[in-house]
Symmetry: C2
Subunit: 394 residues, 2 copies
């Protein structure tokens, strides 16, 4: 029982593990526990919607990783991970959402048994799936160990994408383009939001030929008019209206690799201030793309964007992008670099970002974005190839 069609070569997994071990060395870690599902998948190939219970991967310096999780999910691990089945540990079901036991007691026993009871153990302190209680249970159950904050240790190794990863993202981009084409074609006054989202989801999951669509880590977002000042409202059954702008924030996804893509549609004749905002935003995007070159700091992108916006009297105040690639709900960002003034990370070829300068103003919103790849030479490459403009339907 092994994966009939793994997403990556064994050489790729070996390289990832070696990079992670080097980072563990630098952090002085004897062992690392990752609970982030994207980090689990990146290291082992593990797949499945099981992250709503405690699970994780233990990374050792001198032995294959251990997949650890709920017993009923161990079958899914046998199906998807590259390690031998003796490296899969399932815990009993009465640990799940129990008010008497905590799954970390089981994990602590494994660590203790493997001789790490007095060692330095890395844990992802800032992560959706490593709860406060998981941490305090480990502290209690491993009283002589030192728990070290290893937040982002694996995420930083994921920042520069391999050729195999970029190939998956190029496929996801074909889905992103197709879905956005469908949106621009179908949106019109009177169509209900949920009717359009139904078609968006259908296109997202149908994909393109052999490129079957995976679920994106965030649902499609499409607020209109004054609601578009709130970037994260989800849809309802209300109709699109003439005289309103709607931004469409979505991502094609293939084998958990995402390419987010946003465009805005105005139904009717856009007012003059909206056109001026579009012009400044597109100029800022183009300046940012030109600044997105290997060797430049990440802040260069943010600064290049800001100048034309400020000239148009628009102050954003929010970061304008984040790394993308492999992810699971609730976010499709990688949570390492942030494209903002204070981030001095040097850009390298193979890094991938969602350059996302959304404008969420007092009573309107505008999003035109690009998912980008940092190249060896020259400006960034956009994954999607569609006009960088406000779409107007009159």
């Amino acid at each position: 029982m092994t994966h009939p069609n793994p997403a990556f070569s064994q050489a790729e997994f070996d390289r990832r593990l070696a990079k992670t071990r080097t980072a563990m060395d630098e952090a002085g870690l004897d062992v690392l526990f990752v609970e982030d599902p994207a980090n689990m998948a990146w290291l082992t190939g593990y797949e499945g919607w099981s992250f709503y219970v405690h699970q994780g991967v233990l990374v050792f310096h001198d032995a294959d990783p251990i997949w650890w999780g709920r017993r009923q999910d161990a079958n899914g691990a046998r199906w998807t991970v590259w390690m031998g089945h003796d490296r899969i540990h399932g815990y009993a079901d009465n640990y799940v959402q129990s008010h008497e036991r905590h799954a970390m007691q089981d994990l602590a026993a494994i660590l203790m048994g493997a001789g790490f009871g007095e060692k330095r153990i890395g844990v992802e302190m800032e992560n959706y799936y490593f709860s406060a209680k998981a941490y305090t249970t480990m502290v209690e159950s491993l009283p002589d160990a030192t728990l070290v904050d290893a937040t982002g240790l694996v995420n930083w190794q994921r920042l520069v994408k391999s050729g195999e990863e970029i190939a998956l993202m190029r496929k996801a981009a074909r889905i992103s383009e197709k879905v956005m084409d469908g949106v621009l074609d179908r949106v019109r006054p009177g169509v209900r939001k949920n009717e359009l989202v139904a078609e968006i989801y259908r296109d997202l999951i149908l994909g393109e030929g052999e490129v079957w669509g995976d679920y994106p880590s965030i649902v499609p977002l499409l607020p209109s008019g004054a609601e578009a000042s709130a970037p994260h409202l989800t849809w309802d059954g209300s109709p699109f209206k003439t005289g309103e702008a709607t931004f469409f924030e979505l991502a094609g996804c293939y084998r958990r690799y995402h390419v987010p893509f946003c465009r805005t549609v105005y139904l009717g004749e856009p007012p003059e201030f909206f056109r001026r905002a579009e012009e400044a935003l597109v100029e800022g995007l183009e300046s940012g793309l030109d600044a997105a070159r290997a060797g430049n700091p990440a802040s260069d992108i943010a600064n290049a964007l800001t100048a034309p916006l400020l000239r148009a009297g628009i102050e954003r105040g929010a970061r304008c992008g984040y790394p993308i690639g492999l992810s699971y709900p609730p976010d499709w960002g990688e949570r390492t670099v942030s494209l903002r003034e204070e981030d001095e990370t040097i850009l390298e070829p193979g890094m991938t970002f969602h350059f996302m300068p959304g404008l969420w103003m007092e009573n309107w919103g505008l999003e035109i974005t690009e998912s980008i790849l940092i190249k060896e030479n020259g400006p960034a490459e956009c994954f999607c190839n569609r006009p960088r403009e406000l779409h107007v339907k009159t």
Copy 2:
């Protein structure tokens, strides 16, 4: 800027707040911080896919709750919560995924300023969105306060549903039925998994007339054959095959209220052992439904299920259900009661569960489930009305 069509009456929100304050009293809490998005929504009406950054609701004994979150999401709060806009606090964007700052420093300053620096503050220690780092940052930033584990305090108040909530769930159930009808109609050998999921999503979001479909907190799950031994594998582009069983685990959702519903399809003639498993499972379900009466302990349902399964030689080992209603990813369960032998919670009218005795065996899987409502008298009511059987397509 207020919600044009709130899901609940103000009387409902008042009742929820009063119940929560009583529970806070019993736990000796001076103030409560909830980060669980379902608890936030239940208490305040807040809506939006913004839970991938830190946010929450502060509940006080003698003042309206405070919505606290990222500044760009404060607009969404103004749009959706019932409190006055002076009860909405947005924090600066450079707290988001920063390696220098943590949003909990901002929250701690609010608590300190409001006079809770030396008080008992409840926090949800076991929750997807209250990270280990959020906890240690609060401990550091509020050195004289006492942080008390209030995991599930609000979730337990949600266990018995109001009439307004049950009305939403009945609407969600119409979607669940419609989606399952579509599945049974469309599944056949050669259809690719993602093609069927595309139609499932379309039906889920289209909903039924005025009942627009919201996104379910878990994606549709539909593993086939030996893969069905792994309950949480997601789809790919492979085709359905003759001679394989596939279970379909999905939920209709309306205004964040879920009604999960699972059925299994066998393509071809099912083997004898599969028929025997079906027979035992249906007998177990029917016994369980009969035991699901107000006044009985939750364990009665589990025990009633187990007897016929054991007679057929099937040992499950996992819990057989959980409470359902309002939820956000990554789970549609409420994480309070578990339908299992050791749970002695007394059933009350208005409680709602997914009675979910999935069979995940060595190389096959079978799911036939019901979402149920505990009644004043008599056995549980099933939200969906569809034959409780294995569907065979030859």
